[in-house]
Structures are given as structure tokens and as C-alpha cells.
Subunit: 532 residues, 2 copies
């Protein structure tokens, strides 16, 4: 048999921009590379890494802002048969060191901005044999005892590397996800999974008849960091498509706005906070954002931010996914005929499952919940992490029943849009039904006098759990029990909350426990108030 | 390990139209099915076939016009683990019988129009155990001794079939390709190959910024028969996308034009002959075709037909592929900035390689030819037939050097568009260079007095081969040698033909040998004139 068994490997994504002779550049800090130059730099990078002893299966970590160099790492490292480890510079040093050690990182590519962080972890990660400075120029900065500066090393490297034919199931990338508790957990993705993520994401974009288009005239700029879940996978999509790509470095609002204008950026993705930052930057009003399409993910898109973005002419809508899912599971493309308030609701929802994605909302026995009824969101796609690296128990829980458990609760509406209502660990399980803590919190937070609110489930001998509402009043104001019950009662009568959502317990408190990043710490809240 | 290893099987293509709750119908002869109804009919069809003893690996043949029933066969048969055999009703009975026997067809689904053909082959194909009538109604026609009529059988069948989880590499479809010589040869494609063909085709459509879009508001109607190379793969694309699909039955120009208007068809694909037939139909001028996009393939798009289609406002462009390639290798999407005469040339060219397709033009030693220089077109994609069924020698020739040999000669231009210049067996190999017989024929055919022309290579002791030009003059007219040489000389001086294309031999003949379908029979021409 002499037929070629075409493997779905990351290097194959480069065939198309070269074959279609894309004239679009890859841009970073004023430097512009053609796709041919980009490919030739991959060869040089592979020679640099191979010269430093990196081979098949070795872990190569990157600590960088969004740059064309990072994109080169996305390709050259897996194409060598090595594994790209996207290190997270937002972690505390001990957490970062844990992840680098757990992955067994052998070479680390470090941007000079992260030298202090690197110095804090260096002695705790004995596996690191090689360090390369991700400098903007040819100089390696002081304080980084390293092989050299990336650009200088590339310049000296041989221009051809003989990339091996790889098994599509070999691991290409890994990174760590941090929950509210416990140590970071490693997820990992094969070449095949990343190629299929790319194809399903791009082919899903084809179906867009209103929002959600990505075509060869799109100008792409990530605003989700490249160390975070493959920048949601879009750099691979943009490369396969031969799109113009703009890499913004560290996220500085004035610089991002300037790039959008000067480079003609038409497509980005980010968390709500980044968009909020851009809209409220002092220079923001000077810029025309009406040609800009933005996918929002990472957390729910607040209605106010949605309205503000629409008022600026931004083509805004959501996507949904997790570190464990590569990540994209859903995208809120508008179907024909969805207009007015339904359009806003659809754009803010998590969206429609992308091509090939099997997504269910299930009860605890893994039975499908009907449309409109929340259940845990579970998924099967070609691109889900097979496990948490080295964590048997957590992996089995992740894949209980052969479906990946997202830990999120949501429901599908009649049009197929997924709406997320809660985290499963925060949902209140009452008499076999699920009550969304977020839905009650959202309602109560809009009542006069309410500064903060938390709703948690507390044990109940008859129903299993019942909602407890905890309220911090605004300074100098008072909130009373009956006012809150009245508001909830009204929502129940109007069908916005289920009947069993009426809380028996409403308590006024002085403050609510928070996590280090300022989110409600529901675990502590439950521990503190759960008895009562 | 409890993770789900998502297989690329044809049944997975149905996940998305259902999940995205497509409201679009599948239409045939006034009947309209929702995607849910379509899926439930697949279950019933599988039960009918299983009841008739069809199981994993069995071949199920279909002899039908384009219908929703054929589409059901595209899905239900492979989803059972059986293999769909697309029988070609255009074959002579003995050829059809050969293909049915070679495939070992166990059940055959026959449209009543093909009863005479079926009766002619029936006794020669002992493997057929079950026959189902693809009638438009519940009645099985006379003359077809069969299990029953498709619609009646579906109605009686149980509504749920337990489709097995399949290995993505199991064979899903097979059909036969007929060359000008020899017996038909069987090609075959796995589930994985068809899913990847669907994803690469749809994701390639995403990149279209000008022509070539297929989105969820597209209304699709095939005009390449479903028995021919999966109707170029578009029924799978349309189903994954949840598009409205219109199946036209037998191709009758008036009926096709009516369907385009009444069903709002916006996307089709066909060979030039079909488009020519539609444009020249008596009722054609009454119809607005300006919302219609048509991909032309199968043979070169003549400039005249292109102009006629553009004059009607049709969004026309080409695609290229073979039975052996699933089929799509290239699509002539316009890149930004390609305008005017370059636009026409691009739309008429074979087009740009689709996503992941590796396509080269090579000389006999498999070295790449430079841009502009013709060579044999060879390919690697995820969706190529691994062999000709049971034909070791032909399979090795097909895959010589690990690349699929198309048998076509062409070159890439500077923008990446592929231009096909000849069939390799017709190209004239002169002094190490290739001369396109088609290029000379095209030029000579435009000369006054020329009714028909054929150019073939004849043996030459010094150059290997040299072109021989054979001309049939128009009735009552004469053509002379020097006039033809002069025209060719002009083309050479203008760089439209290479210098070594000037023929030593021009002969005036009374007629030219043709094949049964009216094409020039160059094999016979070479045999008859090759000595001289």
C-alpha cells in the first residue's frame, strides 16, 4: 500500500496560506512578516531548539505576551514533535513553579517583562535546561542567564529543519487550569484535536449569515492572551485562513485602540473586563469601532456592556468553552429571523453548539433536561482534553459517563441557544429540582438598598437544600426581608423564577467572604451559614 | 480511561443541524421534511435494511435520480456500518452489471425509471438479495420483483434504530470510475475521509470574501447527479450546515428553472453542459438567475459559457477534482484585488487548493515545476481514495511516489490559481518539454474554415514526440497548412505558446475518430496517424 495516510497534524495548517499565496502579513510592533517568512522562521526556531537538545516529547514552555514569536511557538514546537507548554504569568510564583515542574519543562522562552517572575521560580524547576529571551530585539536582557535572544538565535540558525511526520494523536500542547481550590491541573491536546478544533471553528464561521464571519479579508487580533487556552484557538484559524494577524503584546488600552485603527483590525475576542477597559479608556471615543467584531467569553456578558458596545457599533456576541475543551463549544451566531429583544438575548447567551459539538444539559442521572430546564452542561467534541495530566480521580470525574462535565449549569432555549445559569457547585438542589443561585442574586441585586448579595443552598431535612439569601445593605440604608420576598414573589408570578425558588431564609449581613480575585467565596459562605 | 474518543463518522454530521435547530426543509417534489423528520426517516430506513439482512460491511447500491431518498441513503447506509454503492445509470448494462458484481451489492434501491436497466442486469448479479423500489409514492411498480416501495417500507418500520459506534476508518461509500479504456475501477472512501472532506469544503467556504460563500441561509440544489462522486460532496456540507436542500429528481431544464425560482435556490454545481442546457432552454429568459451561485466542474468552463452566465448575473466559478479525490481539490474563490480580465481568468481556472490540500505540479521525476510551467498535478488531502478496489497495479500507479496522480497536466500562476492544460496521456513530450495539445487545438479551432481539430504527439527520433495537427475543414471550405502555421507562429511570438509548439506536420482529414460520448478518441488518432 503506497497511499498517503494524511495525518491531522499542526504543520498541515500551513499548507493552505502558502498554497493560496496569501499576501496578508503577520504584524507585531511594526514588524511585518509574510506567511513565507513566518514558515522560514519556524524552520530556524526548530533548529535553535533542536540545537539546545529539544526533541520529540520534550516540553517547551513559553512566558510571553501576545507576539508573532509566541505564534511561532504555537507551530514550531509541536511540529518538532515537542509539546508547547503555555505558562501562565498571572499565577503566583509557587503555582507557576508547580506547573512548570509538573509538565517537566525543559526549555523556557521568557519575555524580559517576566524576569522577576522567572527569577522567583528558576531554582525550583530543575528540569529547565535552556532559557531563551523573548526580547523585541537581538539582545538578551540582564538577569536572564540564557542561551541568547530569540531574534539573534533565529538569525544564526540554519534555514531548513526536517520536520518529522507525526502521529496525529501525539500531544501538541499543554497548560494548566486553576480552580478555586486545589493545585492547578494540566490539560493537554493532540495535533488531531487542534486541527479539528480549527476546522470546526472555521467551518462554523462559514455558516454565519449575520454575525460571526471570518474570511480571508478579516484582520485578526487576539485579546485573550495566547497563554490562555490557545487564545481560544483563533490563531490557528487565522493561520489556516492566511489572514492578516496583529499581535498586540501586553494589553495596553491606548495601544490596542491604536492598532485597531491603524491596522484595520476587524475581529477580536476577549473577556468582558478587557472590552470594558477599552470602552472606558480616555481615548476610546476618538476611535471608530464600527467595523470591529468581538467574541466575548470567559464569563457572562453583562447586558450593560453589551448595550455600550452596540452603541459604539461593535458586532458583539458571545462564545463559551473551558480550558478543558480547547476551548470553543458554542458561538452565538444569529439565526435568520432572530430580531429585537430575542436578538439581544441570543447574542448574550452562550450561543449555538459549533459544528460536530454534542452538548447536553443533564440531571444527576445523566438524563437530558427538557428545553428551558437547567441541567449540568456535558459535552463531546473532537477536541476535549482526554484527562487531567496525572490526576486519575479528577479525570474520572471530568469524564463521568463518557461525557466531559463542564461544571456549569444551563439550559437550551427553543432556538438552540445555550443559556448558562450557574456553576454546578453553586446550584441549589431542592426537591429534585435545580434553583439557580445566580438568577436569584441577579434579581435581588436590583432591589433598592442592596449593595451585595449571595445566594447559597443550605441543608434542609425535607427538600435536601433550600436557598439562603445573604444581603449586605448599602451604607446608611436598610433592606428588609419582606421587601425581598415580595420581589421574588413577583418574579415567580411572572414566570421568571420557579415557584420553589422562594427562600425561607433571608439574612442581612455586614460583609460577604470573597476570594483573592474578588469573587464571592461560596464555599466559605456555605461553610459559615450552611448550618443555619 | 473514560474519555470519549470522538470518531469522525458520517452520523456526527447530523448533530449540528439538530443542535442548531435548523428550521430549513429538505425538499423533493413538493414534499418537505424537517431535519428531525429526516433523522427519524434514517432510523426507519436502517430498520428496513437491517430487516432485509443488511449488516456491517454489506454493499447497498442505489440507482436513483437526485432525491431526499438518495440523501437518506448517503447517511443511513454508512451509519449502519454498511457501504453505500452509488450505481451509475449512465453505464451500459454490461458495465453496470460489472460494477454491481465487483462491489458485491447485496441490496439495490431502484427508481422505477431504471426498471429496464435493472431488468437487463438483474440475472447477471447474483449477489443482490433485496430490491427496494425508490418510487415517489407507496406503490412498488410492476416489473420490479422487490421487497416493496421505499415509502411504504419506511412507514411500516420501527422508528428507532440503534446505530453502532463505528471506526472512522471503516469504508462508507464506493463507486466506479470509467476511463476511456479498460473496465470501470472502484474507488472508496471512509467515514473519516467524508467528514474531513465536508469540514475542509465548508471551512474553505468560510474564507470566501467575494464568491464561494455557503451559509445557513443558502438554498442548495445539486445539479451534479448524486450517483456521481457524492454530488461533489455538497449534500454532506448542506446537511452539516442545516441548509435548505432542494432535490430536483431527473434533470429537466424547465423543472430546474422552476425550482430555482420557486424554492429560492442560491447555490448549485454542475458540468458546463447542464448550465448550457439551462441557459438555452426556451423558458430560460423568463427567470431571474442573479441570486444563483454555480460551481462548474467536470470539464473546463468555456469562456463563451462563462460570459453568457455572467450576463445573466450568475455568480459562476470553477472547482476541480476527480472521482479518486472525493472530489474537491480546488475552488476558484476570488482573492482580494483580482479584477477585470484577471478575475475572468481566475474564475475559469481550476482555482485555489482548498484547506489542507497539498497540490503540486511535477515533472516525471516528481520534481516541482516552477509557477507557469505545466507538470502533472499530484495531490495529498485527507480525502483521497486509498486505492482502486482489487487493482494492485493501477493503485500503485495512482499513488506512485506517495502522491495521488490525477492524470491531468497544469500549472499554478503567481496568485496560486491552478490552470489545467491537458490530460497527461494527451500531452506532447518534446525535447524534455511538455506541449499542451489543448492549447494548440484551442488556437487552431478559431481559424477560418476549421470545423474540427485534433493535436496529438507522434514519435520523433530527435525530440521524442512532436505535435501533429489534424484538421477537418468546414463543408465547402478549404484550410491550408501555411495559414495554420502562421497563426501558431503569431501565438508563439506573442508568448501564448512555447517556441517548440510549432508543428512540422499539419494534415487535412475528412473526419476524426470519436469515443461513444462524442469526445476526440486520441488513442485511436495516435494509433492511426502516429507512424506518419
Amino acid at each position: 500500500m503506497t497511499a498517503y495516510d494524511y495525518p491531522l497534524t499542526i504543520g498541515k495548517l500551513l499548507v493552505t496560506p502558502i498554497a493560496q499565496k496569501s499576501a496578508a502579513p503577520i504584524v507585531h510592533r511594526g514588524r511585518r512578516f509574510s506567511y513565507s517568512e513566518f514558515v522560514s522562521r519556524l524552520h530556524r526556531l526548530a533548529n535553535v531548539l533542536a540545537g539546545a537538545g529539544i526533541g520529540a516529547g520534550d516540553r517547551v514552555g513559553v512566558l510571553d505576551w501576545d507576539s508573532h514569536r509566541y505564534l511561532e511557538g504555537y507551530f514550531a514546537v509541536p511540529m518538532m514533535g515537542a509539546v508547547l507548554m503555555m505558562a501562565n504569568p498571572r499565577l503566583a510564583p509557587e503555582q507557576l513553579a508547580y506547573t512548570l515542574n509538573h509538565a517537566g519543562v525543559k526549555a523556557l522562552l521568557v519575555h524580559p517583562d517576566f524576569i522577576p517572575l522567572f527569577q522567583a521560580v528558576r531554582d525550583h524547576v530543575p528540569s529547565i535546561k535552556t532559557v531563551i529571551a523573548m526580547s523585541e530585539d537581538h539582545r538578551a536582557p540582564e538577569g536572564l542567564c540564557c542561551l541568547g535572544a530569540y531574534e539573534a538565535l533565529l538569525e544564526q540558525a540554519a534555514p531548513h529543519f526536517d520536520f518529522p511526520e507525526l502521529d496525529e494523536r501525539s500531544t501538541a500542547t499543554t497548560f494548566y487550569t486553576t480552580g478555586t481550590t486545589g493545585l492547578p491541573k494540566g490539560v493537554y491536546f493532540s495535533h488531531r484535536q487542534l486541527v479539528l478544533h480549527t476546522l470546526t471553528l472555521l467551518s462554523n464561521s462559514a455558516l454565519a449569515s449575520r454575525n460571526g464571519r471570518v474570511d480571508r479579508e478579516t484582520v485578526y487580533m487576539p485579546l485573550t492572551p495566547m497563554f490562555h487556552v490557545h487564545a481560544w484557538g483563533f490563531p490557528f484559524v487565522a493561520t489556516l485562513g492566511g489572514l492578516k494577524q496583529v499581535y498586540p503584546g501586553r494589553y495596553i488600552p491606548a495601544e490596542i485602540l491604536r492598532l485597531i485603527a491603524e491596522e484595520g483590525v476587524t475581529f477580536s475576542h476577549c473577556v468582558p473586563t478587557i472590552l470594558q477597559m477599552l470602552l472606558s479608556a480616555p481615548e476610546s471615543a476618538r476611535y471608530d469601532l464600527s467595523r470591529w467584531q468581538v467574541v466575548i467569553g470567559g464569563s457572562a456578558l453583562p447586558r450593560g456592556l453589551y448595550e455600550a458596545a452596540r452603541a459604539r457599533g461593535i458586532e458583539i456576541y458571545t462564545g463559551y468553552g473551558l480550558s478543558e475543551t480547547c476551548p470553543v463549544l458554542t458561538v452565538a451566531q444569529l439565526k435568520p429571523g432572530i430580531e429585537g429583544e430575542a436578538e439581544a438575548a441570543a447574542r448574550i447567551s452562550a450561543g449555538l453548539p459549533v459544528g460536530l459539538a454534542e452538548i447536553r444539559t443533564v440531571d444527576e442521572a445523566m438524563r437530558d433536561t427538557p428545553p428551558g430546564v437547567p441541567g449540568e452542561i456535558v459535552a463531546r467534541t473532537p477536541s476535549l482534553t482526554p484527562a487531567y495530566a496525572g490526576e486519575t480521580e479528577a479525570s474520572q470525574a471530568l469524564w463521568r459517563g463518557g461525557w466531559l462535565h463542564t461544571g456549569d449549569v444551563g439550559y437550551f432555549d427553543e432556538e438552540g441557544y445555550l443559556h448558562i445559569t450557574d456553576r454546578i457547585k453553586d446550584v441549589i438542589k431542592s426537591g429534585g429540582e435545580w434553583i439557580s443561585s445566580l438568577a436569584i442574586e441577579s434579581l435581588v441585586s436590583a432591589q433598592p438598598g442592596v449593595a451585595e448579595v449571595a445566594v447559597v443552598g443550605v441543608p434542609d431535612p425535607r427538600w435536601g437544600e433550600r436557598p439562603l439569601v445573604l444581603i449586605v445593605p448599602k451604607p446608611g440604608e436598610t433592606v428588609d426581608d419582606s421587601q425581598i420576598r415580595e420581589a421574588i414573589g413577583l418574579a415567580i408570578n411572572e414566570g421568571r423564577l420557579p415557584r420553589y425558588a422562594m427562600p425561607e431564609h433571608v439574612r442581612i449581613v455586614e460583609e460577604l467572604p470573597k476570594t483573592s480575585v474578588g469573587k464571592l467565596d461560596k464555599k466559605t459562605i456555605r461553610a459559615r451559614y450552611g448550618v443555619g
